[in-house]
């Protein structure tokens, strides 16, 4: 064969491989609003940047007549490319090939691209669309999952790991996304569960649809397994590109800075925040008043909305915002919000992203359900994450900061580097009503008019303690500033802390309450 024929042969082989599961399977995939694996990769990456690896890998099944079957690429496409110039490794399971099932060679392709990402120190994106383990390959399929999980864990905190669920992801397969940093889901397409509706029905007699059991909404609102919810795949890809722009390529780098921009004029703090601590407002408007171009990229928007987390930029530099949300459940801390914020803080710390914490909370959510759900150990995650974090930590106490909530929200005591408070701040051991009821119990009980006395005592307590100056007198807040000065406070804090170094005690690792 001459070069010409050999080239023609190569092209033929490539055409075969690119066909995936064939036109019929592709049609079926498209009929339910799904793109093919290759289309997904191309839609996420910059045009012409995708370079595919291992196109000609053969599957490893020998039993049950599998040796006679040809599975193009063994049901997974892997490669490298760029997203707005950021290099990434990527893989996409191809549901049209044997249901995207995971066999030995399929897993080998995934682990190879994961190892590649670790060596190149760039993010890895995994697109999941698979029926699960390829049963015909038996224990080798399980081995494949195990190898992936191990690598997910090793890569955790070293390179960003992004999971995109664009189809079923059931049984053991769910644990790879669960081990990664960010999980993206799409309405009507994503399905994640350990045991499916069939098993639940046979064993427990409970009937539930796949969507209600483990659909996109469920994982965004109830379980907190997913971080980004999208109506369709297009929106999902847009979110992925946004995310990649905010994070560094690995844990030794900082996120690439953007040209600095001022916040938009319409976000004016004095107009956003009611002085009465009992009145709600949307804390995201405050974040927008602080972030460049008023751009805020929210994470886990639908889960535990009483705390808000996400990325923004301040003078071009990525920062992680953590803020109590008075709009939802008065911004209390509870099981879910502690878990949500705790994990995000650890993410920011792992990837050199400074933390800006905006405080306005009444305390912890009261209730038997919270206590029994373990608000003690879950709440402890937040304390642990803040205490452990060594990136620059900036805290703004906006209004109320009562009791344990004050300590937990990155107080000086947990080693915040910069704490400022607004004149509206109320830093106290508890809310004035509760405190007055305890301290002046006898005076109130013995008064001629107890209600009148209670009101008077609450007022006295409020005047004396519901302000930032008691804490400021002890040096627990570094500065009391006017709200409009907050952005320049943060800008300055970032400027002077860019070389911050903290030595933590030598240990293999801590024992966080997870």
């Amino acid at each position: 064969m001459g070069l010409k024929q050999k080239t023609a042969d190569l092209k033929k082989r490539m055409r075969e491989a690119v066909k995936g599961g064939g036109s019929k399977a592709i049609e079926k995939q498209k009929a339910i609003g799904k793109k093919t694996a290759r289309e997904r990769i191309l839609a996420i990456l910059d045009s012409k940047s995708f370079h595919e690896y291992d196109m000609f890998v053969k599957h490893a099944g020998t039993e049950f007549n599998m040796d006679k079957k040809f599975l193009p690429g063994d049901g997974v496409i892997t490669g490298t490319g760029t997203i707005s110039g950021h290099p990434v490794c990527i893989y996409a399971q191809d549901f049209t090939v044997a249901g995207g099932s995971l066999g030995w060679a399929h897993a080998k392709k995934i682990t190879k691209i994961m190892d590649h990402a670790m060596k190149l120190k760039i993010p890895i994106i995994g697109i999941n669309d698979s029926g699960g383990a390829r049963i015909q390959e038996g224990v080798n399929a399980l081995a494949g999952y195990g190898e992936i999980f191990y690598r997910n864990t090793q890569a955790s905190g070293v390179i960003p790991q992004i999971s995109v669920i664009l189809g079923p992801c059931a049984g053991g397969a769910v644990y790879s996304p669960a081990l990664t940093d960010f999980v993206f889901v799409v309405e009507g397409v994503s399905k994640m569960f350990i045991t499916g509706p069939e098993v639940i029905k046979t064993v427990l007699g409970e009937e539930i649809s796949m969507e209600d059991l483990g659909g996109a909404k469920v994982h965004c609102e109830i379980t907190g397994n997913a971080h980004f919810y999208a109506k369709d795949e297009e929106e999902c890809f847009y979110q992925i590109k946004e995310l990649v722009s905010f994070i560094p390529w690995n844990n030794e780098l900082k996120a690439i800075p953007y040209p600095k921009k001022s916040p938009k004029k319409k976000y004016n703090i004095p107009e956003i925040i009611p002085a009465d601590p009992r009145q709600p407002y949307d804390v995201r408007d405050i974040i927008k008043a602080l972030a460049d171009d008023s751009e805020f990229f929210e994470i886990q928007e639908l889960f535990a909305a009483n705390i808000v987390i996400g990325f923004g930029r301040v003078v071009g530099q990525t920062v992680g915002f953590v803020a109590n949300q008075p709009l939802v459940l008065a911004g209390v801390l509870d099981v879910d919000s502690s878990d949500k914020a705790g994990r995000f803080i650890r993410y920011c710390n792992a990837f050199n992203i400074p933390l800006v914490t905006l405080v306005d909370l009444p305390g912890y959510l009261p209730g038997v359900d919270q206590e029994h759900a373990g608000v003690i150990r879950h709440g402890a995650k937040l304390l642990y994450a803040y205490s452990e974090a060594t990136v620059p930590k900036i805290t703004v106490i906006m209004r109320k900061a009562y009791g344990g909530g004050y300590i937990a929200m990155c107080s000086h005591h947990l080693r915040a580097d910069f704490v400022c408070a607004w004149p509206t701040a109320e830093i106290a051991v508890m809310g004035p009503e509760g405190a007055a009821n305890i301290i002046f119990r006898n005076e109130i009980k013995n008064a001629e008019n107890p209600d009148e006395m209670r009101k008077q005592k609450v007022k006295e307590y409020k005047n004396k303690f519901a302000n930032p100056y008691v804490a400021a007198a002890y040096g627990y807040v570094d500065a009391v500033i006017e709200p409009y000065e907050t952005r320049s406070f943060i800008v300055h804090a970032l400027e002077v802390s860019s070389h911050k170094k903290v030595r933590s005690p030598k240990k293999r690792h801590g024992i966080p309450p997870f």
Partner: protein, 114 residues
């Protein structure tokens, strides 16, 4: 900005409610998860309930029977296992709410003890 961030967290239809934390009432929105939480009820040992869905295989007691703690009340099949349900307390059977062969849901009261 991600498209999703432009939607309100809680649908606009939900008006502000009041939430009390440490004797202060806050105007705020409540989440579905919060509204769906189960109210706490203390466990009543005198109500024998199905701990998972299953089938009644055998019943050993009748109304009016005097029973001692540890007596076998019934055999309840769930998840392919025959579970002997024993009396948690001494007492008298007030009512048997099921018969052999019944398929029961989780939390159904099978037997009341007086």
């Amino acid at each position: 900005m991600a498209k999703t961030t432009e939607k309100p967290v809680e649908a606009k239809r939900s008006p502000y409610k009041s939430l009390a934390v440490e004797s202060i009432k806050y105007r705020t929105k409540l989440t579905t998860k919060y509204l769906k939480r189960k109210a706490y009820a203390p466990v009543d040992e005198r109500k024998i309930t199905a701990f998972i869905p299953g089938t009644i295989k055998k019943i050993f007691v009748k109304e009016g029977n005097r029973i001692k703690e540890g007596d076998k009340l019934l055999i309840f099949e769930a998840m392919k296992m025959n579970n002997s349900i024993l009396a948690p307390v001494d007492g008298i059977i007030e009512k048997v709410n099921v018969k052999v062969g019944d398929k029961v849901n989780k939390q159904l009261v099978l037997i009341d003890i007086k």
